[in-house]
């Protein structure tokens, strides 16, 4: 078999195997925990899971508008019915069922253990008389009739007290039984998706189901649908990013094909240029999947970016082939430099591999395997597929020669002024931004709408909550109970609009027992009751259900989650009382936080052990900043490794410095330029800068090689112009994107490439020792 045949066969086998793996086994996940250090505390993990799976992240706020209130209420009812029957939703409420039958029955059945109004004086003759007199009076009023069913068993009114307390303080107004906003022009609904907020596919499916149900419910009425939830917003922003990315990819592909077509004048060669990078990405993804069991979606995105460097590899080879030279021969000349280009990037990737974050380690492995794969394809497959006799049009010196050659000193000064000037422009501007919300591509109106809907529906805040931790379930519940006075104070002082405390429907067992102990025995209760009714027109015989209920409650088992199973309260309980390893957490959702500072102070002054104020935005920012700091450390280590590879490969520290200096200067200058433009750096910039470092190193390497080998400067210059040009086509297109993430990466790389080229042209020459006379 010829070398060409062996190469093709080898490539086919590897690519075939990799494609098979991708088709059969590849699993991509979007678990945010991959971007946490592995040494994260349990609490941080809990917060992350709350962030991506908590009730707030699943809650879909829905708004119907555009028609008469009557018709909107009608659509609201139909829509609620359809969503309620859809397995993708756990819970739907449009206001119609103000208190579910199941909830009501559960509260009624366990009222003497659940009601916080249970106290000894409630069951004395005086206490009972007060209660009964109030009931007799209310039976003479209009409202009393609606409540009389409960009276024989619950004359002290515990059930209604519980219902009142669990009815949210800020209920939306109702029109024909459906929730409406204060203006009465928009019907409101709440739906909880079964998919967690972080499951973007699940969220997208739920939204599609919502839109279908709406289309069916609306019929020919002129009703508009709007909705909002963290999950829905994330799914929408993913759609926006994907749409933007694919549109821009089309444009940049066209530009690159045009450029390469113009340079190589052969369709086959244009196709060949994509081969190494694509092969590298494929084997890199498979390697990550094998090593980590799954590939994170972010790894895929970042990895594809970093492998942008490999797109240049064929360019270096093809643009520098001489007229009479077959491709393998040209490769032999360039192999050492190409190997250095690959190895420097692979070495930097090792630093990522060693990072404490699984997300970074994945990125490191993907990059390392990817560039190695791309390098191997460029070296051992590509040359055999270059058509025999093909060679690039020779670079014309008149086009590519430097018009002027400033002295080394002037070049150094120019470079120094460029970098120092950009650095100076950053003064007083923040360098880092760890708030990923700023990368959100959604228009601000959507975020504003979310706030309005949340306030109108009294839905819990996504950002703030209280977390109560306990060694046992009972500890956590007991601590949560002690928070109530502070929470009530915060509502009174209007720092909070409301809150939801699970202990209102599942008190700690100690509290339940305390209430049970208060209940008098049957003889005493009957005696007190008999005394209480004297003078009231009450028929004692009708109250047998009351005596029986109290007697039952005295010896009842403690109420637990199983007593609420299948009710809306039980569903809420699942989300709000959660085990975390051996410990337990109670989540206390907060509604309409008007003053986070005051609410937090009120809560902390209560001094409840295990309770803490949570600001999820601050938490995610902290995690991002830890991730960014780690990434930065890894990049630093990577830079050192690159220097080592350069020094070993070039067998000279000075030569290594000559390659490394312009790249370092370019990366610093790029970062400074972005900060100077008023955009603090995010982790996305960091990854883009890493690519700039990789690309820039290669430019410097090939420049140095060209100079050392005595190649015509025009050949080297054109070679860099072609590889730099393709990168600029790709990333310059991205820089025009509407979505901040893509724009960030595009702008950073495009800017970096220009600065790399400029500084590579200026600096090494300046550092070169003056040639000694022969």
């Amino acid at each position: 078999m010829t070398a060409r045949g062996r190469a093709a066969l080898g490539w086919l086998v590897v690519v075939g195997a990799a494609l098979t793996w991708v088709a059969m086994r590849l699993s991509v996940n979007a678990d945010f925990a991959a971007f946490l250090p592995s040494a994260t505390t349990g609490q941080q993990r809990f917060l992350v899971s709350e962030l991506q799976e908590g009730v707030a992240s699943r809650l879909l706020l829905i708004e119907l508008s555009g028609d008469t209130a009557e018709r909107l209420a009608d659509v609201s009812r139909t829509l609620a019915g359809k969503l309620g029957a859809d397995g993708r939703f756990r819970y739907v409420n449009n206001g119609d069922a103000d208190f579910g039958r199941g909830d009501f029955d559960a509260l009624r059945a366990h009222r003497y253990q659940l009601s916080d109004a249970i106290a000894p004086e409630r069951f004395t003759a005086d206490g009972l008389r007060t209660a009964l007199a109030a009931r007799v009076r209310s039976l003479s009023g209009g409202a009393g009739l609606f409540e009389k069913t409960l009276l024989p068993e619950d004359p002290t009114g515990e059930t209604l007290h519980l219902v009142d307390r669990l009815t949210p303080a800020t209920e939306p107004r109702r029109v024909q039984g459906a929730w409406f906003d204060p203006s009465g022009a928009r019907a409101l609904l709440l739906a909880e998706t079964r998919a967690p907020g972080s499951d973007l596919d699940g969220q997208a499916e739920a939204i599609a189901a919502l839109e279908r149900a709406f289309a069916a419910a609306k019929g020919d009425r002129d009703v508009q649908l709007r909705y909002s939830s963290p999950g829905a917003m994330a799914a929408q922003s993913r759609t926006l990013i994907a749409a933007d990315a694919s549109r821009l990819a089309l444009v940049s592909t066209a530009l690159i094909v045009a450029l390469l077509g113009f340079v190589y004048r052969s369709p086959i060669l244009v196709l060949l240029c994509a081969l190494p990078a694509l092969t590298g990405l494929l084997v890199g993804v498979v390697a990550v999947d094998v090593a980590f069991g799954a590939v994170h979606a972010i790894t895929l995105g970042f990895g594809a970016t970093l492998l942008g460097e490999a797109v240049d590899y064929p360019g270096y080879l093809l643009t520098q082939m001489r007229g009479d030279e077959p491709a393998p021969a040209a490769l032999a000349r360039l192999a050492a430099t190409l190997a250095m280009a690959v190895l420097t990037t692979a070495a930097a990737a090792v630093a990522l591999l060693l990072a404490d974050f699984p997300g970074l380690a994945q990125l490191g492995l993907l990059t390392m395997i990817g560039v190695l794969g791309a390098g191997i394809v460029t070296a051992w497959v590509l040359p055999f597929w270059v058509p025999r006799g093909w060679h690039p049009v020779p670079a014309r010196a008149s086009v590519w020669a430097w018009r002027s050659t400033p002295s080394p000193g002037a070049r150094l000064a120019l470079a120094a002024i460029l970098v120092a000037g950009l650095l100076a422009l950053t003064s007083g501007k923040p360098w880092w931004d760890d708030d990923l919300a700023n990368m959100n591509p959604l228009p601000t109106e959507l975020k504003q709408r979310d706030r309005e809907l949340r306030a109108a529906l009294g839905a819990p805040e996504v950002r703030y909550m209280l977390l109560v931790e306990g060694a046992t379930r009972e500890d956590a519940l007991a601590s949560a109970e002690r928070l109530r006075p502070a929470l009530e104070r915060a509502v009174t002082s209007q720092a909070l609009g409301g809150f939801e405390l699970v202990t209102d429907y599942l008190p700690s067992q100690a509290t339940q027992r305390r209430r049970q102990a208060v209940l008098p025995d049957d003889a005493r209760l009957r005696a007190n009751f008999a005394e209480a009714v004297s003078g009231l027109p009450v028929r004692v015989a009708a109250f047998e259900p009351f005596f029986a209920a109290v007697e039952r409650a005295r010896v009842a088992l403690p109420v637990d989650a199983s007593n609420l199973a299948g009710t809306a309260l039980g569903l809420k309980l699942d989300g709000l009382l959660r085990p975390d390893g051996a410990r337990w957490h109670v989540v206390v959702p907060l509604v309409s936080v008007a003053s986070a500072g005051d609410a937090r102070k009120t809560m902390e002054q209560a001094g409840v052990a295990g309770a803490q104020w949570v600001d999820l935005q601050a938490t995610s920012r902290d995690m991002m900043s830890a991730f960014r700091a780690n990434a930065l450390r890894a990049f630093g280590l990577g830079a050192l490794l690159i220097l080592g590879v350069l020094a070993a490969g070039l067998r000279s520290a000075r030569a290594a410095a000559r390659v490394a200096l312009p790249v370092t200067a370019a990366v610093v200058a790029t970062a400074a330029a972005i900060v100077a433009l008023g955009q603090p750096l995010t982790v996305f910039h960091l990854v883009a800068l890493m690519l700039v470092g990789g690309i820039g190193t290669n430019y410097a390497l090939f420049l140095a090689r060209g100079a050392a080998a005595g190649d015509p400067p025009a050949t080297t210059a054109r070679s860099l112009a072609v590889v730099g040009g393709t990168t600029l086509c790709a990333f310059g297109t991205l820089a025009t994107s509407q979505t901040p993430v893509l724009r960030t990466i595009g702008l950073t790389v495009a800017l970096g490439v220009v600065l790399c080229l400029a500084l590579s042209a200026l600096l090494p020459a300046a550092l070169r020792q003056p040639p000694r006379p022969a």
């Binding site: 007799v136 039976l139 409202a143 009389k148 027109p537 009450v538 109250f543």
Partner: protein, 190 residues
């Protein structure tokens, strides 16, 4: 023979025609009334109370869907129903509900309101309706269709004379009975 048969048919026909007073007729009659105000006396016989509760006041109906009950004794209270919203106000408290989520209370209210309105569609949607008597003295027996409502409310009986209601009796599943009788105070036609 044939003549006899014809005669018999004729007699039969004329006697049914004379006795016939059907729901559309009653409803059409009631639907003439744009607004009405009557004095009422409501007696509540409740199992848990040793003595019945008696309330007196006025009841006002304004087409299409407004019902106002002004109670004077035992203590002043106003109940106002418009559409599905109910407001009850006394010197001590003011409460407001939407009846859309409360089918039992809604059936209660519609038994009175839809009867006053002559709203056959609402009555037959919520209740099985049986009409008895003549236009000079009729009674409507309303039995809830919705099983949830029927579990709480046994039936509503409405009695009247021409286009005027004279009494309503509501019987629930706890065997509590509420009897409301009406006397005219004023009346304005279409």
């Amino acid at each position: 023979m044939r003549a006899v048969r014809l005669l018999a048919c004729l007699v039969l026909w004329s006697s049914t025609a004379a006795a016939e007073f059907d729901l559309p007729q009653l409803m059409a009659m009631l639907a003439q009334v744009e607004r009405s105000t009557v004095a009422f006396e409501e007696t509540r016989y409740l199992a848990i109370l040793a003595t019945p509760v008696v309330r007196r006041g006025t009841l006002q109906y304004v087409r299409p869907d407004r019902l106002e009950m002004h109670v004077f004794t035992p203590f002043p209270e106003t109940m106002e129903v418009v559409g599905s919203r109910v407001r009850i106000e006394s010197s001590e408290q003011r409460r407001e509900w939407d009846l859309a989520g409360r089918p039992v209370a809604l059936a209660w209210i519609e038994g009175i309101r839809a009867s006053l309105a002559g709203d056959a569609a609402t009555l037959t949607r919520l209740f099985g309706v049986a009409l008895g008597g003549t236009s000079a003295s009729w009674q409507l027996v309303l039995e809830p269709r919705d099983p949830r409502v029927a579990a709480a409310l046994r039936r509503v009986e409405v009695r009247g004379r021409q286009a005027q209601l004279t009494a309503i009796e509501i019987l629930d599943r706890q065997d509590d009975r509420i009897v409301i009788t009406f006397k005219p105070v004023s009346r304005s036609g279409p």
